[in-house]
Symmetry: C2
Subunit: 434 residues, 2 copies
């Protein structure tokens, strides 16, 4: 273990409440494994670079495979590089899956992804220690390239497993370094043909559970270690262009202008008012905005921006999309600028079945934690899996809501409580289904 990993593990254990070591779950083991993964792809900022399909992601997968095998799992890998460690039960007609990913954004943190994989694996360790023999088959999964930094996409592994990969698009895409999709795969021992054969029959899967850091501050604000995810918001990305008339900033009188940036300003300032008109969980954000030609002394000719619109229910999300469009139309009319829009992405939100929510709520209550419901605004592998099978998600408190950054942090107490909640949820599903 390198120096960073050792201090990472020490930091995790420094305030650990050992009473959470129970029912075979071991905080030290979880801390040790998080720490060992944190050393793979370590950056000079104490963050991690484990881009999807990189040798660092490969190395992290291989490390987890070693632990899986030690824990008695049968490990297989599909054509997309998704790793599946299986504990066969007597009942092989019912499969319960749990997991997440081990890739990261550039200079990302050490919890987003690995925590979900290691929590899923810790359950197997706990069962081994207590002698619990699960009746149904249990799979621990590592999905490839969840973050999508390489191809500016995301959920690559889960997209392949669920048969949602866009073959035409991927066969022509280049990664951030200009390398073709097939070549990128070959660097880590995979190939494009195999990738597109990774689609799997998921009929036997009863539920996929994912533990993930919250990447927000709601749990912290409510002083709770874990939360129950009510649904995974599907984003709609609406690209909006306002076109006016470029001109010299000095020689064009104020009353003879069609300035698209003035219009865009009026638009962006009104966006925050719209989500609350549709639901409590809806959000809308202008994160990207480009001005053309963007010269200090030139009245802009065009402004192009993208509005990210999300909610956990399709109806309210789509209602919000229509409200954003209506606002853009009104602004275009009021400011005399030409409007055009293009939907770049519209992913259906994934609702979470009431029976799954009840199963997780029961598990939360058994741990004497107040059940707190919150939406997931970000996409996760569970979102893609949710297109085919029931899913459940457990969020873990994130310090200051920071994620995708070296400062990402969740206390070991919170992480281990998430293991207990996941374990009780899985066991309940083993016994009673969802």
């Amino acid at each position: 273990m390198n120096t960073f990993s050792r201090s990472f593990s020490d930091r995790l254990l420094s305030d650990y409440n050992y009473t959470f070591n129970k029912n075979g779950v071991c905080g030290e083991r979880l801390a040790n494994r998080l720490a060992l993964l944190s050393g793979i792809g370590l950056t000079s900022d104490s963050g991690t670079n484990r881009m999807g399909f990189s040798k660092e992601e490969r190395c992290a997968k291989d490390q987890v495979i070693e632990w899986m095998e030690e824990a008695g799992l049968t490990v297989q890998e599909d054509g997309a590089g998704n790793v599946i460690g299986t504990l066969y039960g007597d009942d092989q007609q019912h499969v319960i899956m749990a997991g997440s990913h081990v890739d990261s954004v550039p200079n990302g943190g050490h919890f987003d992804g690995p925590l979900g994989v290691l929590c899923a694996l810790e359950i197997v360790e706990a069962w081994k220690e207590t002698g619990y023999k699960p009746q149904k088959t249990y799979e621990v999964v590592i999905f490839s390239d969840e973050e999508g930094s390489r191809f500016k996409s995301g959920l690559t592994g889960s997209t392949a497993m669920t048969g949602n990969a866009d073959e035409v698009k991927l066969r022509s895409v280049k990664d951030v370094n200009g390398q073709a999709f097939g070549d990128v795969l070959q660097n880590v021992g995979l190939n494009a043909d195999g990738f597109f054969r990774a689609k799997r029959d998921l009929n036997r899967v009863e539920v996929f559970y994912e533990v993930h850091i919250e990447q927000g501050k709601r749990l912290e604000q409510n002083n709770l270690p874990v939360g129950i995810v009510t649904g995974i918001a599907g984003p709609c990305w609406l690209e909006i262009s306002f076109k006016g008339k470029a001109g010299h900033a000095g020689n064009t009188p104020m009353n003879d202008r069609q300035d698209p940036l003035v219009a865009a300003g009026d638009f962006t300032r009104q966006i925050p008012k719209l989500p609350r008109e549709v639901s409590e969980s809806a959000v809308a954000t202008v994160g990207q905005l480009h001005v053309y030609p963007n010269g200090i002394n030139v009245i802009p000719g065009e402004v192009v921006m993208t509005v990210d619109i999300r909610d956990i229910k399709k109806e309210s999300r789509d209602f919000l999309v229509s409200k954003v469009k209506k606002l853009a139309e009104n602004i275009s009319e009021q400011h005399g600028v030409k409007l055009s829009f293009q939907e770049k992405v519209r992913i259906p939100p994934v609702p979470i079945k009431n029976s799954v929510l009840m199963t997780v709520e029961k598990a939360v209550k058994l741990e004497h934690i107040h059940p707190f419901y919150l939406p997931s605004g970000a996409g996760h592998d569970a979102m893609m899996m949710g297109r085919q099978v029931p899913v459940g998600m457990i969020f873990v408190r994130s310090k200051d809501g920071i994620s995708h950054h070296p400062d990402e942090w969740s206390s070991l107490n919170d992480c281990v409580q998430a293991v207990h909640v996941l374990k009780k949820s899985v066991e309940a599903t083993m016994e009673r289904g969802v």
Copy 2:
């Protein structure tokens, strides 16, 4: 003459009203010369590339020098490459200057600059033809690198002549191709030491006149060939930064955001209301805006924009600057974002003396043109010269207000009328001073 120049000349002459050929002024000569210069640095878009201190600018200067010498002027060049063609009068204690520049922006038009130089020269041709002997000394000037595309500055030649060059800055500056200032000068037979010695005693100069295309639509809207410039607006460039808190666009509830782009939107939409509160000629523009990190699914952490603020009077311009700052402060408070600003440029506006305005107005009336006053929002060599000597400017109607573009166009009728107005203004100054 190449094919483009020939068709350019044909186009100029196609609707020329030959009654404007009078008092020795010759429209064909002016058209021919504009056309010949248009062929130097011609681009595939029918525009021109004559960057300051390029071989194309040099070539255009050499062509004009040839015409100057043919017209009987004594030609000198200073260390900054400014070309001065002198017609010595009996009275060498009073000098009247007129001119402009022959460099262009990349893929620029064929009137911005050359027209002012050739109008100034056409007067000498007219005097030669009519046998008029000016009492005072008359100088036709070509200033180097007015546009400033090379060093992202501008007015380089007039800055050197007036002693306003920033030696420390220029000695360390690199051009758009990464070449040092001194090396750029050496490419065209100049050198940095000579450049900084180009400062000239301008005490004997009574006035500098500049004819220039309007680069706006006011004359076109008022159906007038020329206009009298009331003052040259000095720009203030105020860089404004709003800092908020970056976050995940999906996971951050609407009521827990400090989005600097929402604040910047509210700011840019209110900017157009401010200039009319200080004067009719004031303008303010947000032309450049950068969002950080500018990711579709990331709430921006910072927005940096530059406000270009201009007016022809220092008091009203500075009042407008303070109003813009006040607005930024209010926005920062209302939206809970952190504000910082930095003044990147604050150039004093150049007012035009009443006596010069009267001289030009008289000349305009003698040509039976309705005297129309308008401000110059853009900077010109006359702005720099105006720091040391009285200046006068005559604007020529621009088709559709287009400039810095291959489509830049002024009719020969308008150009020749500008020659007559300039000529009568110069002659009046010869006879009565300013």
